[in-house]
């Protein structure tokens, strides 16, 4: 495949990861933080940005680890442990680096970084990347696109939830219940994008 073709392919993978195959709305990954951190747009943007960054970097790192270390050694079944360790180590490293070099950024994103280690979407993106046999360029597109899709969903949800503060919701449905219904409607909306990539 020519360089142009590969880039085009990566772009397609990226766009489809944002819209048609949104990691949150179609595979439900990263729901825990989605439900608990989507109260304010500002925090949602912070967490979303951290997710985009970490997800792009960890899928790429995991791609290298998987194809250059695990596959040659024929120990693919260790990938769960390896991916988790890579993600945890990377998050730790990033935390230390930005704490040292950019305190304002650390105060803005720092509190979210530990949350990210246990975000299922991060590990999920790495596992999908292996299952779908993405090439290196596609992996970059996929990691970035999934992160962006997740961010889009959580920021939109936070915006809707701020409006929800004045709405009357049945007692049993308050909190997570209504959030899930909104997420369902959002997922329904995102299905509308399916026809775009043909």
């Amino acid at each position: 495949m020519s360089a142009n073709g590969a880039l085009y392919q990566a772009l397609v993978v990226c766009v489809s990861a944002v819209f048609t195959g949104n990691i949150l709305l179609t595979t439900f990954l990263g729901m825990c933080s989605f439900l608990s951190v989507s109260r304010e747009v500002k925090t949602a943007v912070g967490l979303g940005a951290a997710v985009v960054f970490v997800m792009t970097c960890t899928t790429v790192l995991n791609w290298m680890m998987y194809w250059w270390v695990l596959v040659p050694l024929r120990i693919e079944f260790y990938r769960f442990i390896l991916f988790i360790i890579v993600i945890a180590a990377f998050v730790q490293l990033v935390e230390m680096v930005i704490e040292r070099y950019s305190p304002p950024l650390y105060y803005a994103l720092g509190i979210f970084l530990p949350l990210i280690t246990v975000n299922c979407a991060i590990l999920g993106a790495s596992l999908f990347m292996v299952i779908r046999n993405y090439s290196f360029v596609e992996t970059v597109g996929y990691g970035f696109g999934s992160g962006l899709g997740w961010m889009l969903a959580i920021v939109a949800m936070a915006g809707i939830r701020q409006k929800m503060a004045v709405a009357r919701v049945p007692a049993g449905l308050q909190g997570p219940g209504i959030t899930l219904i909104i997420a369902g409607l959002m997922a329904l909306g995102f299905i509308g994008f399916t026809g775009v990539l043909q």
């Binding site: 709305l25 179609t26 595979t27 439900f28 990954l29 990263g30 729901m31 825990c32 439900l35 608990s36 079944f77 260790y78 990938r79 769960f80 442990i81 991916f83 988790i84 945890a88 246990v118 975000n119 299922c120 979407a121 991060i122 590990l123 999920g124 596992l127 999908f128 292996v130 299952i131 049945p170 007692a171 049993g172 449905l173 308050q174 909190g175 997570p176 219940g177 209504i178 899930l180 219904i181 997420a183 369902g184 409607l185 997922a187 329904l188 299905i191």
Partner: protein, 211 residues
Amino acid sequence: MSEAKKTGVGKIALEAVWYNNPIFRQILGICSTLAVTNLVLNTLVMCAALTAVTGLSSLTVSLLREWTPRNIRMMVETLIMAFYVILVDVALAAYWPEMRKNLGPFVGLIITNCILMGRAEAFAITNPPWPSLVDGVMSGLGYSMILVIIAVVRELFGMGTICGVAVPYFSSEYWDKWIIMVMPPGAFFMLALVIWAFRSYAPEAGGESRK
């Protein structure tokens, strides 16, 4: 939760399944499993795997709690969970490769399921092995109960079958299949309805215990 130490195993079990149900009380751990609830069979396998992993990792965390240094306990817990998940994954690959293919990445995602970490942190790390095992297994069952309800409704309405077996009325032409049910939005709506129903039915423990 630490006072549960003194009380009986039955109390712990009831606590885990009902009063502290991971889904409708704490809204934890729906991430990795909701995606497979469009087929009952997949859900059952997934829930069995999750229950086994939760129980066994709680047991192991509890057995090792005296020797685990406090500041790296998260890492130790994660590795214990990853170990059991790998066992499940390898077992599925050996005996039921099609099911492993259907479940895709979701078996691996059991590691990041919040219930595992939640139970390990909230219970197993401070309690003896036997109650921890019960607590882990029961949390897993409480979780499975909700997911199986969701899966049954989704498969029945969406495809007219349960575990692949056609159900008389729902698979005939009198029933217009609700395609939306087998698609992702169906899972969101079902989960919201189930949480609504359970919370309205058992509101006494307070809705504020969620995380």
